[in-house]
């Protein structure tokens, strides 16, 4: 065990720190709770990602041949720390970078990789993930959106739901049923679908938070070239598993950056909000809760490092990624509650810090549902890590 950086790791860290110092833009000033503002924010983030891409930092874990740096998992951990330290904005094409790009790298043809990967990196094309359906959520393999072969095209009909950022997206990784007679996991195909195709329409769904983050997406006789099958026909479940594994493993690292920033912001607020005529930061109960938030976030970071060290040896993310998913989602719920308690009556006002706390608090309810519910993650841990019998 040695947590010191090797000279190469140190050099990587220095190089990144220097680049961030020169390039991080001033923080976004506007709010995020109306459509116009959220488009402006989106464009701000898109510009930022282009700059990151040009600097060669957009997806360091990807192989060099596809625009990455072939970074070691340790370099990825360093990347996360430096990003947090520099207060750098997130990368807008997160689903493309963390989930869909890696899936294309594993299952795509050379043509698909050349066509799609550079535009994911530059945020020229934004991606979304079309897995869930009204009747297929946790049991996503029960999906019913149909694709029928017609010459060299599939014709897609059906509906997806809860599709995050579909309203900003150019492409969607879509799971469809191509063999209705096969067992449910055997008749699925993964398609790369142009969101601007004829027959694609969407209806933004207003989230509990008030804004539209996810959507219903409808497909009516949408023609998709067979060359856009990702992986093999009827073996789309294998492709989907790659995406889901990356979802559990990768979201964790970028999320740390956002959480660290929230905690720092709260620690600042705790000094200026008062309790019994003293700063909240001096209130014994609040101190306990702030310290608990700090220690849990540290443990989340350390857990990530441990899984990265393991990943460096085994190369494939395992089912223990579910620990990370449960940890970050439930941590954030506890943290945002602590934030509300620390802020007192101000916490409920949207005007405070551009709606950061009201939105943050409400948004956490989605954390234990998206990317696989907490219950599903616990099933995975019980059955695949601990070897308990399958409950269904």
């Amino acid at each position: 065990m040695d947590l010191n950086l090797t000279p190469e790791e140190q050099q990587f860290s220095d190089e990144l720190r220097a680049w961030l110092k020169d390039n991080v833009p001033p923080p976004w000033e506007g709010s995020n709770d109306n459509e116009e503002e959220s488009h402006a924010y989106f464009n701000y983030l898109r510009d930022w990602q282009r700059k990151v891409f040009e600097g060669g930092w957009a997806a360091i874990s990807w192989p060099k041949a596809y625009g990455g740096r072939g970074a070691s998992v340790i370099q990825q951990a360093i990347f996360q720390e430096e990003w947090a330290r520099a207060n750098a904005p997130m990368l807008v094409n997160g689903l493309g970078l963390a989930l869909i790009g890696p899936t294309i790298i594993v299952h795509g043809t050379e043509e698909q990789r050349a066509r799609f990967l550079p535009r994911i990196l530059s945020a020229e094309e934004i991606w979304c993930q079309g897995f869930s359906e009204p009747n297929a959520g946790s049991d996503v393999a029960a999906l019913g959106t149909k694709a029928v072969l017609d010459g060299d095209h599939f014709v897609v009909n059906g509906q997806k739901i809860w599709t995050s950022i579909a309203h900003f997206s150019d492409w969607i990784l879509l799971l469809v049923r191509t063999d209705a007679n096969a067992a449910k996991h055997k008749g699925i195909t993964a398609l790369l679908v142009d969101m601007h195709s004829e027959g694609v329409s969407l209806r933004p769904l207003r989230q509990l938070t008030g804004e539209s983050g996810f959507n219903e997406v409808f497909f009516t006789n949408v023609r998709v070239p067979v060359s856009n099958v990702l992986g093999k026909i009827n073996e789309g479940w294998t492709t989907a598993i790659t995406t889901l594994m990356n979802e559990r493993a990768n979201l964790g690292t970028s999320i740390y950056v956002a959480y660290k920033r929230n905690l720092d912001a709260l620690l600042e607020r705790a000094k200026v909000t008062t309790r019994f005529s003293r700063p909240a930061a001096e209130d014994p109960v609040i101190r306990q809760k702030l310290a608990q938030a700090y220690l849990e976030l540290e443990i989340f970071r350390l857990n990530t490092y441990r899984s990265l060290s393991k990943l460096a040896k085994t190369k494939v993310p395992g089912p223990e990624g579910s620990i990370s998913k449960i940890f970050w989602s439930e941590f954030n719920q506890r943290f945002q509650q602590t934030a509300m308690e620390t802020l007192g009556p101000w916490g409920q006002l949207k005007e405070l810090d551009d709606n950061r706390w009201v939105y943050g608090y409400l948004r956490t309810r989605g954390n234990t549902i998206e990317a696989g519910t907490s219950e599903i993650q616990r099933n995975i841990l019980a059955e695949r890590v601990l070897g308990l019998p399958k409950s269904y």
Binding site: M1, L3, L295, N303
Partner: protein, 376 residues
């Protein structure tokens, strides 16, 4: 950077597991907890033969000069075995002597500790039950070439079996660290039976106990710093021990969930039981990250060491209890019996939660470091 035990560290840990499974089975733990001191000379000697009593002690004093990471790997296994006796007490005392003692004092105490001939403990807290060493008010008054000790110490672990009790006292102005031999004139050691019968607690009374001034180990600010350092080392070891207990409880519960049948099926098929096990896994693995990070930062004198120690102890204090709660619940009635071994671990976890400060204490330490110091 590699956040994983090396091959050599893993081997060391496996050998500890094998030895303890052989030498310290649960029947033996139960026999020992019924005795007055929970001490087994033969067991202690096999531990000393492995070098573990001197694992952190420099080679020149007969130790192995290994790091706290190796120590954590071994102590984790002691926790898994629920090893009774004065290992943590002796480790705490030897860490203190190593930091604060003169070369001569180190030779005097550390050599026999390494060899397994001396057991030791520290008498720190008093009736106020405050872990802050600066609050010690037991008197040490100078009389010619001696200090005369008067007062009472509480919650002293393994005091009846310790050959030397390192005492933290006060002369009205500053703190003193003084060694008191077992059986010294004026020393009374009284058992105060507690929740965990495998680690015995004592009330120690000092009525005019005389210690030669030449034997004083340290005074003033230096003494406080040394206690702080030694307590950090012992706190990490204790957290590692708690981790081992959690791992045992998890493994035992999962095994039971696979075999116990109700409604014609193993209870592990029911999600209510599965989710308890999943939570136990999450807490155990998170504790593991915290413990080894703390072990590494303390051994490297990393600037994050203080944070890391309190993170580990705060987290383990809550998690060890919660893992135990779920372990008992998932076992049903058998989990509530004296016959089942779960309660050995459950009680050890509670005692350990309190020792060296509980989660609230360490969260306050963290608040001092993080909330008070925070500048964005």
């Amino acid at each position: 950077m590699d956040f994983d035990l090396t091959k050599a560290q893993k081997l060391l840990q496996e050998s500890a597991r094998t030895l303890l499974a052989r030498e310290c089975p649960h029947e033996r733990v139960r026999e020992l907890m019924e005795t007055e001191t929970a001490f087994d000379e033969k067991l202690w000697q096999s531990i000393a033969e492995q070098g573990w009593t001197g694992l952190l002690i420099p080679e020149e004093y007969g130790g192995l000069s290994l790091s706290l990471v190796e120590m954590a790997a071994v102590v984790e296994e002691m926790g898994r075995a629920c090893l009774p006796g004065p290992f943590i007490s002796t480790l705490w005392a030897s860490a203190l002597i190593d930091v604060v003692g003169s070369a001569e004092q180190k030779k005097k105490y550390l050599e026999p500790i390494s060899a397994g001939d001396t057991k030791a403990t520290i008498a720190l807290i008093e009736q106020s039950a405050d872990w802050d060493a600066a609050s010690a008010r037991m008197r040490a008054d100078r009389e010619g070439n001696h200090y005369r000790l008067n007062g009472r110490k509480e919650f002293v672990t393994d005091a009846a079996i310790a050959d030397v009790i390192i005492c933290v006292a006060w002369d009205g102005k500053e703190i003193f660290i003084l060694p008191v031999k077992q059986g010294a004139h004026g020393l009374t050691v009284t058992a105060t039976p507690g929740i965990d019968a495998t680690r015995k607690l004592y009330r120690v009374d000092f009525e005019g106990v005389l210690v030669p001034a030449s034997e004083v180990l340290g005074t003033g600010g230096r003494a406080l710093e040394a206690i702080d350092r030694a307590t950090s080392v012992a706190t990490v070891a204790l957290s590692a021990e708690m981790l081992g207990g959690m791992q045992w409880t998890l493994d035992t519960t999962v095994e039971y969930a696979k075999t116990r049948q109700q409604f014609g099926r193993p209870i592990g098929i029911y999600q209510a039981v599965q989710h308890m096990c999943a939570d136990m896994l999450l807490m155990t693995e998170s504790a593991r990250s915290a413990v080894y990070y703390a072990a590494w930062t303390v051994s490297e004198n990393d600037p994050q060491a203080r944070h890391a120690v309190s993170i580990a102890k705060a987290y383990c204090s809550d998690a060890a209890r919660e893992v135990g709660n779920r372990g008992i619940q998932a076992h049903g009635g058998i989990g509530f019996t004296w016959e089942h071994d779960l309660h050995l671990y459950y009680k050890r976890a509670k005692g350990s939660e309190i020792m060296f400060g509980d989660a609230n204490f360490h969260r306050e330490q963290l608040a001092k470091l993080v909330v008070d110091e925070h500048t964005d």
